[in-house]
């Protein structure tokens, strides 16, 4: 070891550790990213490998409106958390409700898209590789949206019952990390499925 002159700080600094909620959520997001990575890799690997139609270019349309809704919900949930942090439970409730509404619009749009693909275009999971990978990847994302919406709806109910207090700000923030993650995944899915893959 090389020697160096060190001035020792004798004052005990406060013992601060990272928030376990944030660390736990970031770890979960890491695990979820790995799952999505595998599905995205499979989607890209199987692009153009379907032995029969329909092909992506024949049936897919850009879901602009639902994408805008989902991405906006990241902003609304951020504003909701900020409201709760500033002890404005009313503002929190309003923005939280908007998040719920925007997320629901996204989910309904996905449902309508799937209905169109299944009944009008005849594309199912078992039709071809495109069907298999498309429904798996988009479905996995939609599943995550659904889980998020259930949690948002639960919190909404608790807000209406007056159970949500400013001290729950950190929990709301930890959950919002998940919701932002779901949005980021949608950006990737959108790019891979609707832009590159078409």
């Amino acid at each position: 070891m090389s020697s160096a002159t060190v001035t020792r700080n004798t004052a005990q600094p406060a013992w601060v550790l990272p928030s376990r909620g944030r660390v736990g959520m970031f770890s979960l997001i890491g695990a979820e990213s790995a799952i999505f990575t595998i599905f995205v890799v499979a989607y890209i690997f199987y692009l153009g490998k379907s032995v029969s139609g329909p092909m992506p270019a024949d049936v897919l349309e850009l879901p602009i409106f639902s994408t805008v809704c989902l991405l906006s919900s990241s902003l609304t949930i951020h504003l909701a958390v900020r409201g709760l942090r500033q002890a404005k439970v009313g503002a929190f409730g309003l923005w939280w409700f908007l998040t719920l509404a925007l997320g629901t619009i996204f989910l309904v749009s996905t449902g309508r898209e799937w209905h169109h693909l299944i009944y009008d275009k005849g594309l199912t999971v078992s039709t071809n590789l495109f069907g298999t990978t498309y429904y798996s990847l988009v479905g996995l994302h939609a599943f995550h949206v659904t889980v998020g919406l259930l949690a948002i709806a639960l919190t909404m109910t608790l807000t209406l019952l007056g159970k949500v207090k400013p001290e729950h700000g950190e929990r709301a923030e930890v959950f919002s990390l998940y919701w932002h993650f779901v949005d980021v995944v949608w950006v990737i899915v959108f790019t891979v499925v609707y832009v590159i893959g078409r």
Binding site: W15, L17, P18, S19, R20, V23, G24, S27, L28, G30, A31, E32, S33, A34, I35, T37, I38, F39, A42, F45, Y46, K49, S50, V51, T124, V125, S126, N128, L129, T132, T133, S136, L140
Partner: protein, 557 residues
């Protein structure tokens, strides 16, 4: 810090009705109870998986044996692999981690106690699901019982056409469910180690066991998830008529191999890094020296964590990758031997010049050092593509990875059992029985796995249920099977020791090894609250500082 004596609060424990006490174990969120649940559950599966291995070895003891049918042999092979990896080694390591991490970092419990319980019960449910296949695997087709697709379950073996009935579904669901539990444990390890340390315990002052389990937590969340994803795809193929691994519709069987081994190889390190952690705690205490090269140990572990994600396709040299692919995976595989080698030198450096005490935990660690070295060397041999082309799919490979898992991980695990048994049970084990266990097991291990390399080199393929006489394999297979019985005798000595010492062992006291980490500062077994007052640490060896106030470690760190 630890100067106060803590009265055991077990008074009246024995007088409570057994139903109530069992209920406590089922609903508990205490990390110590969950740790013990993990360990006991895993020991049960060790016995089951061991019996399956024994059935295979008896079948192979002589050529043309008829002990079991080929069908049963395949099931035993699949169940042995799946059980030992997912329901024995992983849970037992998670159990030690769950038990020890909060104690070693001076915390009251894990970061998420309820998630901890959830993870355990998911893992337990996964094991039950796997073994339920013996009853429920027949399905409507009346075909199959237990899964027989190998623990790697290559496509198209798992396709509906080749795996009718529900056997493969049980395998898939068992791994999916226990995988969710494992990810929960990984998240919990990371959050606990980063967010629950006692005052003064900076990252650089953590015991190595905590550091290494932090890396394990990271590897778990990034490597179990791909397996979960692949299992979801397999379920989509089997239940919804998807084509992920259906080659007739353009799907790829090789993609499954990639997905499986992206999980499969880091998994090996998930199993071995906690074993490194045990050795890193035991070797210093029984050499009476602090660990040699602490920062290098941490750096090497992190390096292993990263590199382990880039070596997976060395399991697939014989599939026919491009020469660039082969070269890349040869390079990474050989590269990962460097940090691993650094670790071996650090343990040797710790022992060098120390007052080595050859008690049972240390004996197992010394066994680990030698055997893990040999396992690593055959690993480098197999990691070299041309050599691999010759020996892939032979018994040489089986010998190699059992050298890692039994010679390395299981030996370290037995060392950990003896080392922390006094802390967990409050009783000392029998040194005589422990030594008997060590010698029986090491003789059995070497008889079995040293000589297993030879039929591999002579061309004996793995996974076969019988073989022709006259190929020079008979004597080796006979010796290998004889070794198994020594190992069983060793394990019996081990189990006897555990049970006998629980009732008749001497009282251990707080710190029977004169050790240095925080778990030894509290009573044995620790009270529910772990520490009466939150400890404050100033060095990596807080108990050394306490016992030697004239020469504390923090002056030099």
């Amino acid at each position: 810090m630890s100067s106060e004596t803590i009265a055991l609060n077990a008074v009246g424990e024995g007088s409570r009705p057994i139903g109530e006490r069992l209920h406590d174990w089922v609903v508990t969120v205490d990390h110590k109870k969950l740790g013990i649940l993990y360990i006991v559950y895993a020991l049960l599966f060790l016995l089951i998986g061991g019996i399956e291995a024994m059935i295979m070895r008896i079948q192979l003891i002589v050529p043309h044996n008829h002990f079991v049918s080929p069908q049963i042999f395949n099931r035993m092979m699949t169940m042995h692999g799946t059980t030992m990896i997912f329901f024995m080694v992983m849970p037992i390591l998670f159990g030690f981690g769950t038990y020890l991490i909060p104690l070693m970092i001076g915390a009251r419990d894990m970061a998420f106690p309820r998630l901890n319980a959830f993870s355990f019960w998911m893992t337990a449910f996964g094991g039950v699901l796997l073994y339920f296949s013996f009853i429920g695997g027949n399905g409507l087709y009346g075909a199959g019982t237990a899964p027989d697709v190998g623990w790697w379950a290559y496509a198209p073996l798992t396709a509906r056409a080749f795996s009718p009935g529900h056997s493969t579904d049980f395998w898939t669901l068992a791994l999916l469910v226990s995988g969710i539990g494992s990810v929960g444990t990984g998240v919990n390890f990371i959050a606990t180690i980063l967010c629950m340390r006692c005052p003064g315990m900076t990252l650089g002052k953590m015991p190595l066991l905590a550091w290494l389990n932090l890396v394990v937590g990271g590897m778990v969340i990034f490597c179990i998830s791909p397996l979960t994803a692949a299992q979801i795809m397999l379920l989509i193929d089997r239940y919804l008529g998807g084509h992920f691994f259906d080659t007739q519709a353009g799907g790829s069987a090789v993609l499954w191999m990639h997905f499986f081994w992206i999980f499969g190889h880091p998994e090996v390190y998930i199993l071995v890094v906690p074993a490194f952690a045990f050795v890193s705690e035991i070797v210093p205490v029984f050499s009476r020296k602090p660990i040699f090269g602490y920062p290098i140990m941490v750096a090497a572990t992190i390096a292993i964590g990263f590199i382990s994600f880039s070596v997976w396709a060395h399991h697939m040299f014989t599939v026919g990758m491009s020469s660039y692919g082969n070269s890349f995976f040869v390079f990474t595989t050989v590269a990962i031997a460097v940090p691993t080698g650094i670790k071996i030198f650090n343990w040797l450096g710790t022992m060098w010049g120390g007052k080595i005490q050859l008690q049972v935990p240390m004996l197992f660690c010394i066994g680990f050092l030698f055997q893990f070295l040999i396992a690593g060397l055959t690993g480098i041999m197999l990691g070299t593509a041309p050599f691999n082309w010759q020996l892939s799919g032979s018994y040489f490979v089986v010998a190699h990875f059992h050298y890692v898992i039994v010679g390395g991980i299981v030996f370290a695990l037995f060392g950990a059992f003896y080392y922390w048994y006094p802390k967990m049970s409050g009783r000392m084990y029998s040194e005589t029985l422990g030594k008997l266990h060590f010698w029986l097991f090491i003789i059995g291990f070497h008889l079995t796995f040293d000589f297993m390399h030879i039929p591999g080199i002579l061309g004996m393929p793995r996974r076969i249920y019988t073989y022709e006489p006259g190929r020079g394999w008979e004597i080796w297979n006979l010796v290998v099977t004889i070794g198994v019985f020594f190992q069983i005798a060793g394990v019996l000595a081990f189990v006897t020791n555990l049970l006998w010492s629980l009732w008749k062992g001497e009282t251990a006291g707080n710190d029977p090894w004169d050790a240095w980490t925080l778990e030894w500062s509290t009573s044995s077994p620790p009270p529910d609250y772990n520490f009466a007052a939150t400890p404050v640490v100033r060095s990596r060896r807080p108990l050394w500082d306490l016992k030697h106030p004239e020469d504390p470690d923090w002056k030099y760190e």
